[in-house]
């Protein structure tokens, strides 16, 4: 219920009698050196500790340190939080914290009419205004009239607050983000103590910096208390969301995928080998796993993307659960090796944290345009199962499912996530690993042929071949990328052999459909006028748009697909029960093509490729147009 909060333009910023909002969207925007991601992250934590549901959207430039004050150097962090279920980072912010003119310029148009701008006048000097391509100071020319403006010199107030600590000017100004955070904590009635503890921990070796930052935080908080007496600033209390009882934490997609892979390997009773090569936004999975060696994880930073997957396949061959991860350009490089994993029928998990493409594209922005690549993107008939995560917490289960399919079917599996899921945080009811059904692997130990011979490509009822570790006495055999004889696996180019093996590889992957849950309707009826069919991180906006449309009496359902390949067995029949089908995707219509191809249904695309997630309103408008 991202934007349920405001019925009129001034619910948040209006008089003291405004209703207690259900949800609020706050965006912190500043220079990439201003620490906005850190501010957002800490605000997220305090929000979670306050018991609100939340969803975040970090949006930062690809440049590590873009030139200060420039429009392309703006880094933003948006958080949507409330006392009700939150599934998107929010369509439009209610509050924009703009630390400089560039941050104001690039973000203010997103702000809800009547929303609150908090701006640091200390940064609105001639030089910064020029860099942001403002001819006159927007804080003074009336151009921000449709919003509430709270402009004051945060820079000076911060310097004043940290004066007793004798920091240099540059270092002192670095405390600005903590001052701002203090104000934000006051605005939403948050406890400062966890943050103070965190600062003390972070600056353990520099207690002076800890004290300065805490002083700035307290000063920002105190400013709020004083300023409340007059002006647009007031304090809000967002009630905790009603959640199922249990232990909670916040989690990002990169974290939950890492944990899910660890859980998957444990459930398979295997050590895990992770071969990776740094690439945005996938690197954080490698970072996380490198710290989890005690869970039987070996991480290997390879010389390139190809070596990353090749080493993982080598490790799988030797009896580990091989995992590799990348983003689109790196996945493209891995294509040939994926084919080898298909051909040699070795388990492997390939995680793709999608970003805007093609080529280098938009490294730090999200997109879901690698579906074709995942489903179709290899030479030859090379079927690979594909699973897509819908949110940070869902990614945990998806990673486990990817591991299960890989080892039970002796196949590479692609797990699709995206930059949004990887970086976004949400509250997570900490799962109990013991509640998952284990799927322990057994390696072949003895010759399996009817006459005592070894048949490395004999198949079980699932169509899977045995997993044979080198080092096992008496089971020496050779595998490779050349077509092979069914059964013995010896080189065999004969027409009958290639036909038989191609069929067997396809039948095996198709058969995975029998091991996955039937497709359910996520929200709404099993038949009707309109179904919105989505996958991946568009879950939140689609779900909320459908919910709202249904509240308004529209006949629309939401179907969210986790298993992209093979698709659930009942999906075709289900889709045929609707008059119209719309497939919202952050690409030019990729799942749409697959659905049309598989079921001959008239699935209509709804596409967005701006590097930004869908807003609820965009999808709502499409629903209304379709049912008009």
């Amino acid at each position: 219920m991202a934007t349920a909060l405001v019925d009129g333009p001034d619910a948040l910023t209006g008089g003291k009698d405004s209703p207690t909002p259900e949800a609020v969207v706050v965006r912190f925007a500043g220079d990439s050196g201003d620490g906005m991601q850190l501010t957002g992250g800490q605000f997220t934590l305090s929000t979670a500790l306050a018991g609100n549901d939340l969803s975040t959207f970090p949006d930062f430039p690809a440049e590590i340190r873009a030139p200060q004050g420039t429009l392309f150097g703006v880094s933003a962090f948006q958080i949507n939080f409330g006392s009700t279920e939150i599934e998107t980072a929010g369509d439009q912010p209610d509050v924009l914290v703009a630390m400089n003119p560039a941050a104001l310029k690039t973000n203010v148009t997103a702000l809800k009419t009547g929303g609150l701008i908090i701006a640091d006048t200390g940064e609105f000097n001639k030089r910064n205004l020029e860099k942001a391509k403002y001819e006159v100071n927007p804080l003074e020319d009336g151009s921000l009239e449709k919003w509430q403006l709270l402009a004051f010199d945060i820079s000076a107030l911060t310097l004043e607050a940290v004066k007793p600590f004798g920091l240099g000017n540059k270092e002192a100004l670095r405390c600005k983000n903590m001052w701002t955070l203090g104000l934000a904590l006051w605005m939403f009635d948050r406890d400062r103590q966890p943050l103070i503890d965190w600062l003390n921990g972070k600056f353990k070796k520099a207690p002076l910096l800890a004290e300065a930052n805490i002083a700035a935080l307290n000063a920002g908080h105190a400013y709020g208390e004083t300023a409340e007496l007059s002006g647009p600033l007031k304090q809000y209390h967002i009630a905790p969301v009603e959640s199922a009882p249990g232990l909670y934490r916040t989690v990002t997609g990169a974290e939950s995928i890492s944990y899910g892979l660890v859980a998957g390997a444990q459930l398979a009773s295997l050590p895990m080998f992770f071969g990776g090569y740094p690439i945005t936004p996938a690197s954080s999975i490698l970072h996380n796993l490198a710290k989890l060696k005690e869970f039987g994880v070996t991480t290997f930073q390879a010389e390139d993307e190809i070596a990353a997957i090749a080493s993982a396949i080598g490790a799988s061959y030797a009896g580990h659960l091989g995992v590799t991860s990348s983003s689109g350009p790196g996945i493209a490089l891995k294509g040939e090796a994926m084919g080898l994993a298909v051909m040699t029928e070795l388990p492997l998990v390939i995680v793709n944290s999608q970003r805007g493409g093609p080529s280098t594209g938009l490294p730090t922005k999200t997109e879901q345009s690698d579906l074709y690549q995942a489903v179709y993107g290899r030479n030859g008939d090379a079927p690979i199962p594909v699973i897509a995560a819908r949110s940070p917490s869902d990614a945990f289960d998806c990673a486990i499912e990817a591991c299960r399919i890989a080892v039970q079917y002796m196949t590479p599996v692609i797990l699709l996530t995206d930059g949004y899921i990887a970086n976004a945080a949400e509250p997570w009811k900490v799962p109990d690993p013991a509640s998952y059904t284990p799927f322990p692997v057994t390696f072949l130990e003895e010759r399996n042929g009817p006459n005592g011979e070894l048949l490395p490509f004999a198949r079980d009822e699932k169509g899977a071949r045995p997993w044979i570790k080198p080092g096992t006495p008496g089971l020496m055999h050779r595998i490779g990328g050349i077509e092979k004889n069914p059964g013995t696996g010896n080189i065999d180019y004969s027409p009958a052999s290639h036909q038989s093996m191609t069929d067997a590889r396809k039948a095996k992957v198709d058969g995975i459909a029998r091991s996955i849950p039937a497709q359910e309707v996520t929200l709404g009826e099993n038949t009707g006028k309109l179904a919105l069919v989505g996958w991946g991180s568009t879950f939140g906006p689609i779900h909320q748009a459908v919910r709202r449309a249904r509240k308004n009496g529209l006949d629309v359902s939401h179907i969210h697909i986790r298993h992209i390949w093979p698709l659930p067995e009942n999906l075709g029949d289900l889709l045929r029960g609707y008059d119209k089908i719309i497939v919202p995707e952050m690409n030019t219509g990729q799942l749409k093509t697959v659905l049309r191809d598989q079921y001959l249904v008239d699935a209509k695309p709804l596409n967005k490729t701006s590097g930004q997630p869908f807003t609820i309103a965009e999808i709502e408008a499409a629903i209304e147009a379709a049912l008009a």
Binding site: A244, L247, F273, G275, E294, T298, E336, P433, G471, G480
Partner: protein, 338 residues
């Protein structure tokens, strides 16, 4: 390569039932036999031995050795082998590659497997030509090589595999040729070396690049063309009448005549396999003015990559629990009560 008890095998135990599909007369046959003859002498266990290859004529090798074998993709065998060794360091891994596979498409991986010092043997069959794709010039082809893709002669300068391997940080560099009687001894030395052992084997492609090494491999040319290096022995060739000495002024090697066997008087250097500076000169020594340096050129082990990884993993794991539930519940959490 590993501490396992030696296994008694014969050459027959290392032969598969698969028909060998190289051209009749190909140098690969001789290399295959040399390897199959060497493995019993090493006490190697077929169940614990893995041959890993890329793509090319040489990369068919694993299919013909009765052990575990993985015929992978073009140029990437070193990366597969690295994954295998990290997953199970006890496996005895032989990497078979060629001049196209290892020096061209897979040059990057060859560099890194050597740089990391993964404990395995790399056999690079160098025939200075692309055989399986029908005779195009390769990164080791000499200037002016006529081929379907260089009908007027190749104009790019060849790479030297041993110089490349040494430059990549190699700790074991050796050279031999397909039909040489010394090949098994070189293979044994490579196997004994802990770490990435790089062996360049000159191989005669009788179809596309016939006799390209005849200037030193032919019997008539062996005396003048081959310098067999032995640790602790003077660098003598041509029946002891010539040797390699240091040209101090030019900071390089030179050929000197040895009179009456008095190599000391001629200033001939004694081969020290741990002398890296001399190794650099030996691998760069141009054939023609000099003989071809063969045998173990350099052998100075350093701790292996996988032992370093394993040590670090063991330290990171020591005294720490693998309780996943504990990990998930770490950090700042809150409890919602009913």
């Amino acid at each position: 390569m590993n501490d396992l008890t030696p296994i008694k095998t014969t050459i027959k135990d290392w032969e598969t039932d698969q028909e060998v599909r190289w051209c009749p007369g190909c140098g690969d046959y001789a290399i295959l036999k040399a390897v199959q003859r060497t493995l019993p002498d090493l006490g190697a266990d077929p169940a614990n031995t893995v041959f890993v290859s890329g793509i090319g004529c040489s990369s068919r090798f694993p299919y013909y050795v009765e052990s575990y074998g993985f015929h992978t993709i073009h140029g990437r065998a070193p990366a597969f082998a690295t994954g295998i060794k990290l997953a199970n360091p006890d496996l005895d891994v032989w990497l078979v590659t060629g001049d196209g596979d290892g020096m061209s498409i897979g040059g990057n991986h060859t560099m890194h497997v050597i740089r990391r010092n993964v404990n395995l043997q790399i056999l690079l069959f160098n025939n200075e030509i692309y055989g399986l794709t029908k005779g195009q010039y390769s990164p080791t082809s000499r200037l002016g090589t006529n081929s379907p893709t260089s009908p007027l002669g190749s104009v790019d300068r060849p790479a030297s595999p041993c110089a490349f391997a040494l430059g990549a940080g190699g700790r074991f560099i050796a050279r031999a040729y397909d039909v040489s009687k010394e090949l098994p001894n070189v293979l044994k030395a490579a196997h004994a070396h802990q770490g990435a052992a790089f062996v360049e084997i000159f191989q005669n492609c009788i179809v596309y690049n016939k006799d390209v090494f005849a200037d030193f491999t032919e019997k008539a040319n062996a005396n003048t063309g081959q310098l067999w290096l032995q640790n602790g022995a003077p660098m003598l060739f041509n029946k002891g009448t010539q040797g390699i000495a240091l040209d101090v002024a030019a900071l390089n090697l030179k050929v000197v005549d040895v009179v009456d066997g008095d190599w000391q008087a001629a200033g001939v250097i004694v081969h020290d396999v741990t002398n890296r500076a001399v190794a650099h000169m030996l691998v760069e020594m141009p054939f023609g003015p000099f003989p071809m340096a063969l045998g173990v050129i350099y052998d100075d082990p350093r701790p292996t990559y996988e032992s370093a990884v394993l040590d670090q993993d063991a330290k990171a794991r020591a005294g720490r629990s693998n309780d996943l539930a504990g990990l998930l519940a770490k950090g700042q959490t809150w409890t919602v009560t009913a």
